[in-house]
Amino acid sequence: MKMIEAIIQPDCLEPVKRELRKRDVSKMTVFHVKGCGKQMGYTESYRGQTHEVNLMQKVCIRVAVNDEFVRPVVDAIIEGARTGEIGDGKIFIQPLEECIRIRTGEEGSDAIG
């Protein structure tokens, strides 16, 4: 099992969700993050005091999947999130040792879906 994490543009969440659904993946966890990458930051000032801010609004999607789903999920994310512009984001894949469904206590691959 793998934990796939993608940092994408907020605008792209809808398309990514759509692509995932096309590939029968509908379970995920999502939250707002701020990211700093190739994309330029900006300068903020309030009452004459300047901050350099280089964190842009992003959305983080986490999807736990069985190994055979890794490729489709990665594809779906790329499909939905690629605009070709700087700031499109990254996908990170980490090992996942166990997954348990709280409601039933099911474990492993069965619990994931």
Partner: protein, 408 residues
């Protein structure tokens, strides 16, 4: 002697009356600000706030120096008089200026909601100043002011037997604001990604219903000053205006809520739609007619907004053209219908005497705005760069986020 003191008291009362109206109308501008804050994305909230307060400031200067004199002449109130001369002769006139400034400053505040999130701050301010200084006062002069075209004793009255009746500015203020906004919105084009290349519509979610509602409430409360104090003096005050404003607002709320099936945006804007529409004939209608005028206005707004943003694919962010433009136009015409005695109204109006100025205003506003925004587009540019828009005007123009502490 006692007569003198009574006369003085009466004059003072009129000044107080105008003052209360002026302050209530001034407070409405906070309403414009928060209505926009709630209706845009978070990255454009500071821009909304700075825009409204700054345009109030520029409007004050421009209307003081140019606009008010254009509309009403320089007989009683020149700003090169000394303070004691002003006090001696122009006390009431000065206060009237304050009240009417509140009307005039609505023009950029209305446009602001249409061009939100993408217009360049400075060129948009400039456009607003031109409208408040020249275009608005010109039409104001025709209707309430020194040029005898539509008002009492005018060419129109001679022609149709009735003067153009726009008690509290459905046409002069709101319709004009809305119709000035339309070309601006068209020339600017929609926000990034608002419509797909294939024409699909991807609505952009608003940031905050509570702030939107706060704006609407502030506007509703202040609006009673807007309408009732349009009387200009205590003697002319009419309870009917208050009741009709109430009724039309209520009609707009009912229509907004029921037609949209509980949409909070339409409900709170519906109240404003009713109030926009009732201004013109608020001193004429029977309360039940006012209710009807408000209901129609609410419906006009709901359907109008849908057609504008979904069918015509015009990205009028707050829907100011349907809200002020269409409902204002409807209000101007409605005064000529439901103001008639036949509908239980006070009479003294004719549909034709309403129609001519209404249409003239539309032509004037549309042309003026197309011209001003067209020229500005070709010279300084009127739109933020793609990069600035992506970042949002708050950061790009005002260098701060609306919740700076949250920023990481």
């Amino acid at each position: 002697m006692i007569e003198d003191s009574i006369l003085t008291a009466a004059r003072n009362l009129d000044v107080l009356f105008l003052f209360l109206g002026a302050v209530m109308i001034f407070s409405m501008h906070a309403g414009f600000a928060f209505l926009e804050v709630g209706s845009v994305r978070r990255k454009s909230q500071v821009n909304a706030l700075n825009k409204i307060i700054f345009e109030w400031a520029t409007s004050t200067i421009v209307y003081f120096v140019v606009g008010f004199p254009i509309a009403y002449g320089v007989k009683s109130f020149h700003f090169w008089q000394s303070a004691d001369q002003l006090m001696a002769t122009g006390s009431g006139e000065m206060m009237r200026f304050f009240l009417l400034l509140g009307f005039a400053a609505c023009i950029p505040a209305i446009i602001s909601g249409g061009v939100a999130e993408r217009a360049k701050f400075w060129t948009n301010t400039l456009a607003g100043a031109v409208f408040v200084g020249l275009v608005y006062p010109f039409f104001e002069a025709l209707t309430w002011g020194q040029i005898p075209l539509f008002g009492t004793g005018s060419w129109l009255e001679n022609l149709t037997g009735y003067a153009f009746h726009d008690y509290a500015g459905s046409v002069v203020v709101h319709s004009m604001g809305g119709w000035l906004a339309l070309p601006a919105v068209l020339i600017l084009g929609p926000r990034r990604k608002r419509y797909g290349l294939d024409g699909t519509s991807a609505p952009i979610r608003v940031s905050s219903i509570p702030f939107l509602a706060l704006g609407s409430w502030i506007l509703c409360v202040g609006w009673f000053g807007f309408n009732v104090m349009s009387a200009g003096n205590l003697g002319g005050m009419s309870a009917l205006v208050a009741i009709n404003s109430l009724m039309a607002m209520v009609g707009g709320i009912l229509a907004g809520m029921l037609i949209s099936r509980n949409d909070a945006g339409f409900t709170h804007n519906g109240a404003l739609a009713g109030l926009v529409a009732v201004c013109a004939g608020s001193d004429l209608y029977h309360p039940m007619a006012a209710l009807f005028v408000g209901i129609v206005a609410g419906a006009v707004f709901v359907f109008g907004f849908h057609i504008v943003t979904e069918v015509l694919k015009i990205d009028d962010v707050l829907g100011v053209w349907p809200l002020h433009g269409l409902c204002g136009t409807w209000g101007g015409l409605a005064a000529g219908i439901f103001g008639q005695k036949f509908f239980g109204g006070m009479g003294g109006v004719s549909f034709v005497a309403q129609l001519i100025p209404v249409v003239s205003q539309i032509l004037l506003s549309f042309t003026a705005s197309a011209l001003v925004y067209g020229v500005l587009k070709m010279t300084f540019g009127i739109r933020l760069t793609e990069q600035e828009e992506l970042l949002g005007p708050d950061l790009a123009v005002h260098h701060v986020e609306s919740q700076p502490e949250e920023a990481l």
